[in-house]
């Protein structure tokens, strides 16, 4: 995928009329509904189960973070939502993606091109490759404006300068005449954000938008995204591998592991009382930035599973300190945390037979510590089990 706001190269000239009526007549419903989405790739080595039955909803103006390690399926999922991955000879897709009443998953390229850039925009990880190296910055921004907003070249140019200013780029008049290689990584990412926002989309998909950037620049870009998101009232799907990044920047978090959502909850709730052992382990594995140094980090043994042959039962069971026999054979469904004795009424669901913070979990830990290994045969050490 080259352009940041993907558009069909040859867009239909009969594009949608004028601006959509944002915020008007909008009811407090889901803007984006994803239902039971599967993506499987048929490769020479077998079938890769990249995304397995993911369902979620995103309301207007909400920021949902999708967190997962490499290979968790978060990027494939984002691309499927966007419509960039479609069924083909070696790609099997199922499930529905509905955006504001339109079933995206049924649209063809022509139909999608009316939505891309205008209603849904995408910001990718690597600003070096998501811009066209042989086109000036200005031309890359005005392309979208001329296509979707029917602006004249001159107006589009003025708007491009305005957009660059709004994303905090200095000397925007000069920038529009520059090429991507003349800008630094952070500046390029600001440009891709400007392109993404050029038509005031209602949904922004940001796939690891700051991973390629330095920490001081990362903070700038995240603040910029958050600021624009709340000012424009758009919904955002923020995909990242770093829990720290989303802590103060999301309303809700969905944790993905091996192609599945394993826990989803409002951000505060997830951090306060994670239920899925994987979420708990991820949090403990991040080196703290306060307190003493040389702290022994809690480790997650092993590595993420091979999606060619995901483990039976709970997919985290081979690495889980609490794993019991049941976890190896029976995959837990998404369960509602409100049913737990100390669960709050917020929407919090998780996939685990022995959720963290329950007597069952404490018992599972006791059993495993006693026999020195989990039901999956993983040795249980002090490093692995949080006290």
């Amino acid at each position: 995928m080259r352009p940041t706001t993907p558009q069909a190269e040859k867009a239909p000239t009969t594009a949608a009329p004028g601006r959509h009526a944002r915020r008007e007549g909008f009811e407090d419903g889901a803007l984006l509904t994803v239902e039971d989405v599967h993506v499987r790739f048929h490769t020479r080595n077998g079938v890769v189960h990249a995304v397995e039955g993911v369902s979620l909803e995103l309301s207007e103006g909400e920021v949902l973070a999708v967190v997962g390690e490499s290979g968790s399926g978060k990027t494939v999922f984002t691309r499927r939502v966007m419509g960039l991955i479609a069924g083909s000879r070696d790609t099997e897709v199922s499930g529905t993606v509905t955006f504001d009443g339109i079933t995206l998953s049924e649209l063809d390229a022509k139909g999608l091109s009316k939505v891309w850039g205008k209603e849904i925009a995408l910001v990718l990880q690597d600003p070096m490759t998501s811009l066209n190296p042989v086109k000036r910055i200005g031309a890359q921004i005005t392309e979208t404006l001329i296509l979707h907003q029917k602006l004249s070249k001159q107006d589009a140019n003025a708007r491009a300068i305005e957009l660059l200013r709004s994303v905090g780029l200095s000397e925007p008049e000069r920038r529009v005449r520059q090429y991507p290689h003349e800008l630094s990584g952070g500046m390029r990412q600001r440009v891709t954000i400007a392109i993404a926002l050029s038509c005031s989309p209602r949904l922004l998909l940001a796939d690891e938008p700051t991973t390629a950037l330095d920490v001081t620049v990362q903070a700038q870009i995240l603040d910029l995204l958050g600021d624009l998101q709340s000012r424009l009232g758009m919904a955002m799907l923020l995909v990242t591998h770093d829990l720290r990044v989303v802590r103060s920047r999301s309303d809700r978090i969905a944790v993905m592991y091996a192609g599945r959502i394993v826990e989803t909850a409002p951000t505060k709730d997830l951090f306060d009382s994670p239920r899925m052992p994987y979420t708990e382990a991820l949090m403990n594995a991040v080196p703290p930035i306060t307190g003493p140094n040389h702290v022994r980090l809690a480790v997650i043994p092993g590595r993420p599973p091979d999606l060619l042959a995901p483990p039976k039962g709970c997919r985290f069971s081979p690495r889980c300190p609490y794993a019991q026999d049941r976890c190896l054979t029976e995959e837990p469904p998404l369960r509602d945390a409100a049913d737990l004795p100390d669960g709050s009424a917020v929407e919090h669901s998780y996939r685990c037979w022995y959720p963290v913070g329950t007597p069952e979990n404490a018992e599972a830990r006791r059993v495993n510590v006693e026999r020195g290994e989990t039901a999956a045969g993983t040795p249980v050490t002090g490093e692995m089990v949080p006290a």
Binding site: Q218, A219, R244, P288, R303
Partner: protein
């Protein structure tokens, strides 16, 4: 070392330069420059003075392009620095012949960011790990030492015996790299972004392993990374680099909890925190090009405290509190230190003023 010694005096008699008891590695006025074409020069490292004490972990942090990896490589003489010296166990590596440097290399090992590309894909794991022994004529020990080291880094020697790097994950390859670096029992291990390419869940395994290996083999670590959380956890002292210079050096906790240099403050406040909201202000701008670094203090173009003095005068490294050094005209202190320390009289040297090596407490 006693910082009262003028650096020029040290340079006149490098042979007699006796290391103080606990300093294993000392960089003096280290400069690394690369040609950038069209007669331009990349000032990657511009005059670094640093001491690494035996048995400590020294963290070297900074953003990409600040020269931290170049510094690590210059210590290894890969390539030799443009000027300045690297004293290892009291011997100046820069003044030695390449053969003499080669003989010291077993004591000075390095591991890299990308664990997969740093291993030869066509060789088997035990051969990769055992090679350093063969090179040093100790091939006979291979059968005994290699399994030991593999076990130490958490790999089963029997399981990996017939395997090649592509059959392993990034985390396991990093374990192999560490085993290869340890097989000759080095004194100093330079780790250049050893966990940046790894997932969070695997990163913790490698960090714990490095701590274990440090204890087991009595290593001194130079830990280069851009992730401040990682550096904070593993380091005893931290040196913060910006655009080829060290701007702050101090004990880890103190440096992170109360940064003295404005750049350190910016870095620390930019860390996304597990504990909640961001802690401080977010800066603006990005690092200028190392081809034409700003005059005076290199951070001044982004510094909220910059004054005219910062543009004209290179700030010297000075001790602002016990064990804490900074190169800043306007350090953030509870009790401002106005006059530079006596050792920093070299201030009227032109651009690349030589900062005195930080003294031990």
């Amino acid at each position: 070392m006693s910082s009262t010694t003028d650096s020029s005096v040290v340079l006149e008699k490098p042979a007699e330069d006796k290391p103080s008891e606990d300093v294993v590695l000392r960089l003096e006025d280290l400069v690394v420059e690369f040609p950038a074409g069209a007669g331009q020069i990349v000032h990657a490292v511009s005059g670094i003075n640093l001491e690494v004490r035996r048995g400590e972990t020294l963290g070297l942090v900074g953003e990409s392009g600040c020269g931290k990896s170049t510094t690590g490589r210059a210590i290894m003489q890969l390539p030799k620095p443009t000027s300045g010296s690297v004293h290892f166990d009291g011997r100046d590596l820069a003044s030695l012949s390449s053969e003499e440097v080669r003989k010291l290399r077993p004591k000075l090992q390095m591991i890299f960011q990308d664990p997969i590309s740093s291993l030869n894909p066509r060789r088997r794991i035990p051969d990769i790990v055992g090679d350093p022994l063969v090179v040093w004529g100790r091939g006979a020990e291979k059968a005994k030492v290699v399994p030991e080291v593999l076990r130490a880094v958490g790999l089963d020697p029997e399981q990996v015996a017939d395997r090649r790097p592509h059959q392993f994950s990034g985390g396991q390859c990093q374990r192999v790299s560490i085993a290869r670096a340890l097989v000759l029992e080095p004194e100093v291990l330079i780790c250049d972004e050893p966990v940046s390419a790894l997932d969070v869940s695997v990163q913790a395994q490698i960090l714990n392993l490095l701590e274990d290996m440090k204890a087991r083999y009595g290593l001194t670590l130079v830990f280069i990374a851009h992730d401040l959380g990682v550096v904070r956890n593993i380091s005893d002292r931290v040196a913060v680099m910006y655009l080829g210079r060290i701007c702050e050096l101090g004990p880890t906790e103190a440096l992170f909890d109360a940064p003295v240099h404005p750049y350190t403050r910016l870095l620390v406040s930019s860390i996304p925190s597990m504990e909640g909201a961001q802690r401080g202000e977010v800066g603006t701008g990005e690092m200028p090009s190392p081809v034409s670094p700003p005059s005076g203090c290199r951070f001044r173009t982004r510094c909220p405290l910059a004054t005219d003095r910062c543009a004209s005068e290179v700030p010297e490294m000075r001790e602002v509190a016990p064990g804490r050094f900074t190169a800043c005209h306007h350090p953030i202190l509870d009790t401002p230190v106005e006059a530079p320390l006596p050792a920093a009289v070299a201030g009227d040297h032109s651009t690349n003023g030589t900062a005195p090596a930080p003294a031990d407490s």
